[in-house]
């Protein structure tokens, strides 16, 4: 694994406005820090160089926040900086996240030309009223236009992020949202169940009864109907919440799900290398300050023991419809899955939660719905 390829995640913590459901480390009204932040990112990039010396980067993911809040020139500069600093595979997947309100044809053209070959746009819903509830500052039309511009700029791999289980959302509206995304002809769709995180304004609204979340049964109906619909439209359901046209699976996220190594730059970013996982300060000022003083922004670091690595490999792998590869597991840990988890696997098979194939283990539909309960069985 040490000589293998790795992924690079770059966190851009700025947004025009914070969405009402968002508990990510992203901030509005911090625009004045954007220049300094960019500098700090470059310093951090320099500092990690030695850690990943000789390793080739297979995927780069600019996540946020809203990376496209930066001017295209700044993003290109950043990318060029990485290209100078690191060994990047020729065919690397390079993704940027984007929100519709920050896109224009010129920007997309420049980004594409700079080597970004995948774009992930936050659509979230196919009805403006739901976008409003979520605190989004774009309309459905903005999304359609953005996808169109991206296409014209030469993006051959576009993702749309969508959410279900929204307050007052019907099953029909959800399918309509998916249908709109499909009609835009995108290669990849992420369909997430809305998680109401404590402390977010949307959580408060639902908690106080101002908004109604759909009941659990209905939420599951949305999920399963959605899966069925997307499959019928030619998308592979390859991860709990992710769908792709053949060959268009997100390589960067696959790296997480296969529990491979990655380096994260920027505030709140996580890294996983040589059995250690560490994370940077999420607070932007703190991050910039630590970088300028110590050259790193690390808040905490944890050594992942071998048993935990095994568990995490199963935990992440079972999110994939293809499951955990037996060969990969054995190669990584010396013994096969059955050596460590034989009884558990048998037990879960009996319960109809898990299927064992020749080359992998993977969850049934029911097992997917109850993934956490299933995973508890694998814990020591």
């Amino acid at each position: 694994m040490k000589s293998g390829t790795i992924g690079l995640y770059v966190h851009i913590p700025f947004c025009l406005r914070k969405c009402l459901y968002c508990d990510f480390p992203s901030y509005a009204q911090k625009g004045h820090l954007m220049d300094e932040y960019l500098k700090a990112l470059k310093v951090e990039a320099d500092q990690v160089k030695c850690k990943i010396a000789g390793r080739r980067i297979k995927t780069i993911f600019l996540g946020g926040g809203t990376p496209t809040l930066y001017h295209e020139k700044e993003l290109v500069q950043l990318l060029d900086y990485f290209k100078q600093s690191y060994l990047i595979c020729d065919e690397a997947e390079i993704t940027t996240e984007a929100n519709p309100e920050t896109l224009n044809p010129q920007k997309l053209k420049v980004l594409r030309e700079a080597g970004i070959n995948r774009i992930s746009i936050g659509m979230q819903a196919g009805q403006d009223k739901h976008l409003k509830t979520l605190g989004r500052i774009h309309s459905v039309v903005d999304v359609e236009r953005g996808v169109d511009w991206a296409r014209r700029a030469g993006f051959g791999n576009i993702n749309l992020d969508l959410m279900f289980g929204l307050p007052n959302q019907s099953v029909d509206e959800w399918i309509e949202s998916l249908d709109k995304a499909v009609k835009m002809g995108v290669e990849h769709i992420s369909a997430y169940a809305l998680i109401l995180e404590e402390g977010t304004p949307l959580y408060e609204l639902v908690d106080q009864g101002d908004l109604q979340s759909p009941p659990e049964d209905m939420e599951r109906e949305m999920y399963h109907t959605g899966v069925h619909f997307l499959k019928s439209q030619g998308y592979n359901h390859y991860e709990i919440s992710n769908f792709a046209k053949p060959g268009k699976e997100c390589k960067h996220n696959l790296l997480y799900w296969q529990n491979n190594e990655y380096i994260g730059l920027g505030s709140g970013a996580h890294s996983y290398l040589h059995g250690n996982r560490w994370s940077n300060y999420a607070n932007i000022c703190k991050y910039i300050d630590r970088i300028s003083k110590y050259g790193n922004g690390i808040e905490q670091s944890e050594e992942i023991s071998l048993p935990t690595q095994r568990f995490e490999t199963v935990m992440m792998g079972l999110r994939l419809n293809s499951g955990v590869s037996k060969e990969m597991f054995k190669e990584r840990f010396g013994h096969g899955l059955e050596y460590y988890y034989g009884d558990i696997i048998e037990n879960l098979k009996e319960k109809g939660m898990l299927i064992e194939a020749d080359t992998s283990i993977y969850l049934t539909t029911k097992g997917m719905d109850l993934q956490n309960s299933v995973l508890l069985h694998f814990m020591e």
Binding site: G264, A269, H270, E302, M315, L370
Partner: protein, 601 residues
Amino acid sequence: MSDARQDKIRNFCIIAHIDHGKSTLADRILEIAGVLTERDMEKQVLDDMDLERERGITIKSKAVRLTYKDKDGEEYILNLIDTPGHVDFAYEVSRSLAACEGAILVVDASQGIEAQTLANVYLALEHDLEIVPVINKIDLPSARPDWVKKEIEDVIGLVAEDAPLISAKNGIGIEAVVEKIISSIPAPAGDEDVPLKALIFDSFYDNYKGVIAYIRIKEGKLKVGDKIKMMATGKEFEVTDVGVFKPFLTSVPELKAGEVGYVAASIKNVRDTRVGDTITHADNPAKDPLPGYRKVNPMVYCGVYPADGAKYEELREALHKLQINDASLSFEAETSVALGFGFRCGFLGLLHMDIVQERLEREYDLDLVTTAPSVIYKVVMDDGIELDISNPTNLPDPAEIDYMEEPVVNAQIMAPTEYVGAIMELCQERRGTYKDMEYMEETRVLITYELPLNEIIYDFFDALKSRTRGYASFDYELIGYQQSDLVKLDILLNGEVVDALSLIVHKDKAYTRGRGIAEKLKELIPRQMFEIPIQAAIGNKIIARETIKALRKDVLAKCYGGDISRKRKLLEKQKEGKKRMRQVGSVEVPQEAFMSVLKFD
């Protein structure tokens, strides 16, 4: 037979309703006799177990010897014998009383006489004790000393005219109490020149000396080297130490008639120093033992299991250690399909049960699963064989049972008259038989009911308190067994009987109970991967049914790089919560569910 030596001794105890200030008064008396320093006063010395203090009750009796110079300068020896304040320990109380000549009766100046006050007074009168009433908490704004005095005279028939008015908390009137002890309570008058009769009223195990027995010498003398004999068990020992409590153990050359002290004789087990037994000399024994001894039998049983099956041996070890100091605790190994290996433990009552469980968890760091408490049922089979059943699971096939009997208590409830209706309704619901109602005064009544023990062992007192807004007090004593129409109620989870949830109930209550338990379990058992039917059944007949719907969603929608540690930690937390669960067949049952089956109302 009185002599100058014994004339200067007073043996007494303090009796009171719970919370009326018994322990505080005891401390104050010790304080003015100079037994304690200020620092010692931080805690109430007679209750030295944490648990006791938290519950505000005294579990085990102890004794302290004080010296006090009265106002004429005469020096007296006062032996204060502390008594347990709970009905579970009624027998121990009676033995402590038997070691005294008198009792101070503490009555709260605002609350007046309560059920326990009366029960204690009756006990003291049975032992011919001189009762000295004392009115406590007179400094409270709600204090009504004259009213309480009148109540004591009217209800108990004691002269209370010159009862000391005190505040134990603030140290008011304590001297008057001590003077009263000396003037009113008779001195002991046992003959020291006849064969030894010493009453054991408590004992504890000491790592160095073995069992230390608390004794009151009724007649004769006792010294180191004497060969002694326990008259009930017949066991013989050689005395290694005798002494008194000051309050710490202090050796003396000899204990004589009228004195209270301790004896050690390399005794290995508290079972050999049974409370109530008489110690005499092996080579010159008394003709008859002191009256009143009986072997104490547990009244309430429950299954105690380690939450972690691997801790079985630790639990056995802990029970053994507790038993060394607690002869009334019994246990024997049992196995449950649902809970694995554990013990059926016998207790004097519910409080005793709670205390033992808490000590196991606290002092021995054990996580326990306990089943609902049960009483002992007498089962008479068709072929005439009689069985005692303490575990409902062991009830034989009803087809072979001729009849069953259950224990019954005589319960006394005292409360303001406005609650009479609520109390009678409750007792009626609990299959009570009305016996008597007596007006203590215009606004308060004493209601007497006969109640099956199994109706009160769990939540009766709670129910009583809630229906009387806390104004009722309650006391009971076992009076015997009565034939009753009892059935075994089984609970099925996912179609399988869970033995640890079975209980024996009266036939007329089976339906309500069954439904109540099924509903309760539905609340307590979290949703799981599968739908779980809960059924209550008598034999093959299902009498109630509930369903726990299957869990439909337990998955995190989004999980990216940074989330890996967080997600794992979430799962670790979920896993931790699961440790409080017990796997029963394919169902995970929270530990408290096994106890909850009796919780109603």
